[in-house]
Symmetry: C2
Subunit: 351 residues, 2 copies
């Protein structure tokens, strides 16, 4: 079991290990004074885990109310959020009660946002069950929903009280979700860690299981360092956005249904690195190295739109500031920086 402590505006532990869901109650009891817990989960994950999670929470004396919504990014919207608010009100949840997100990134983002805003803030616990959620979205306190105009455009910073990453949960994931999560894992290697890049290069989508706990802990600890340096996303934290500006635009192009987040980010990393290499903003051959790694994890994909067609969608990116946009560029493996471009320069960059 690995424990990584995050010192953000609220201090909390990310615990990585096996069997954590079955025993979540004892961990949760230590971090909240809540009497009631709203367990929020999608219909896929709920069927597998909600019973054992509920049982463990009840054993510690919590009253548990389960809210289930249809799985998929399309649910991460204002309609589902309003249903969550209604559920919390009907069940008389109070400001000292707690929301627990059981599931992947969609669940964590939306349940976290509900916990940030219902009664102006309740306690929040993350129980991430996907690789993507364990290495990325459950840590750092970014919560959000999508609106028709773009992904994650509405949200709040809300640090959880606890994150329990049960790596057993990843075993029940469809292979597709594992591939999806590896997109963010490759991102961490690219922006901050040549050693992680080497571990990934020495494995592939099948053998990665042998080093999964180590890989997750490395990713979480990179994210922890970045979040501690810049909780509210004014500088350093932007690096985590490598591949995301174009990635989000690709997801939007496919209406958040045709292509998964991790694959879109992989494609975004590929596009931005290729463009960077063309403009001598990174070392020669970096795109090839990245592509070799992406292939090992089935993340070499083709998409319809060219980079130049995605420029307009990128203008709603949260990393934009007034007439400029911050693009993350890796000059080499493990070395990244934010480059501020005017909207015009960015359009040229994408050509």
């Amino acid at each position: 079991m690995e424990i990584i402590t995050v010192n953000a505006s609220q201090k909390y532990d990310v615990i990585i290990g096996t069997g954590l869901l079955e025993n979540c109650g004892e961990y949760v009891k230590k971090v909240t004074k809540a009497e009631k817990i709203a367990l929020i989960s999608d219909d896929n994950v709920s069927g597998i885990y909600s019973e054992r999670v509920t049982a463990s929470l009840k054993q510690e004396g919590f009253e548990v109310c389960l809210f289930t919504f249809p799985h998929g990014e399309a649910s991460k919207c204002s309609d589902t959020l309003n249903r969550i608010y209604g559920f919390l009100a009907e069940n008389h949840f109070t400001r000292t009660d707690c929301i627990a997100a059981l599931g992947g990134g969609v669940t964590g983002d939306m349940a976290g946002y509900a916990s940030a805003t219902y009664l102006r803030g309740m306690d929040f616990i993350q129980l991430p069950t996907s690789l993507l959620a364990q290495v990325d979205s459950s840590v750092g306190g970014k919560t959000a929903i999508d609106i028709p105009e773009g992904k994650n455009l509405v949200g709040a910073f809300k640090q959880p009280k606890l994150v329990l990453c049960d790596t057993n949960a990843l075993r029940t994931l469809p292979r597709d979700f594992l591939i999806d999560g590896m997109g963010e894992v490759v991102k961490y290697a690219m922006i901050k860690s040549a050693p992680l890049f080497d571990i990934l290069s020495a494995n592939d989508i099948d053998s990665i299981w042998n080093v999964m706990d180590e890989v997750i802990a490395k990713c979480v600890s990179i994210k922890r360092d970045v979040v501690e340096a810049d909780e509210f996303d004014k500088g350093e934290r932007m690096l985590l956005n490598f591949g995301h500006t174009l990635g989000h635009s690709i997801e939007q192009y496919y209406n958040y249904t045709g292509i998964s987040h991790g694959r879109a980010v992989a494609k975004g990393m590929e596009m931005v690195t290729e463009l960077s290499e063309k403009r001598k903003l990174c070392r020669n051959g970096l795109t090839d190295d990245l592509m070799t790694l992406l292939k090992k994890y089935c993340l070499d994909i083709t998409v319809e739109p060219k980079a130049s067609q995605l420029g307009n969608a990128c203008l709603n990116d949260k990393k934009r500031e007034g007439g400029s946009i911050n693009i993350i560029i890796c000059s080499d493996i493990g070395k990244s920086s934010a480059v501020k471009m005017t909207v015009g320069d960015f359009a040229n960059f994408l050509e």
Copy 2:
């Protein structure tokens, strides 16, 4: 002109004086690096003030986009909020841009909440035009929308960068709105200030104009003190809720249309003081003193429901904590405290 500085998580000035709307641009320029300002207003206020505000902002080089919504509490909902988000996205607002709320409490609460959540936070300016907004809702950083289950149940703490209280704006208010605002003014006197109670007692709804700037400054400075002591509403700040738990339930009883906020709060203060006196929780005769003052400001009203009928609606009050609810009680003029009651005790209290 009076300037009251609020030292919350963000430091900002509340400026009280005349002609501030016509000259808002120069004040706004000092507090934000925004290039664009989303001016949010209802159809009543917009018609009177949006042109001169826009002109002043443009003179300082800001690009201004106006969003207008139908006036009234019914607009303070998820639908209008979603339209604001869409408006911000379509106009390519960024995290470094700014939202300005021009209007009363509904506008300030909703525009403030939009500024707290769009892109996880933009700059925010309050230009309150009602007495209620100037003395209460524009100061202190509480933002919210209503949901079908109750008022202000969804929200965020978001301190503005600046509050400009142009007392000229109050002159154009229908008398009804002035009365409404006086409900909160009486509240300040009751919870914290016997001198303010004396000033109010020496005047009435017509003569209060002669001392309006002083009254507003007194209220803002009481609120400032309370907010500085307890920005995130864990203790002291609860005092501001005097009359509000029952008041909100009265508003809900009338579906947020039959009775204005200030009147509902006045009735809530009356009910809770009457119940307190019956149970010897305040000095004898306090209810009479309060009623004498409320009459001077046309705030002695009758409502259909009895206190005992409002208990259930009160259970969704944000001041509730688990199985308890915090009720604010004044033991005398200017002396208030929070009394924690179990849900059962509270039901008995209301009988």
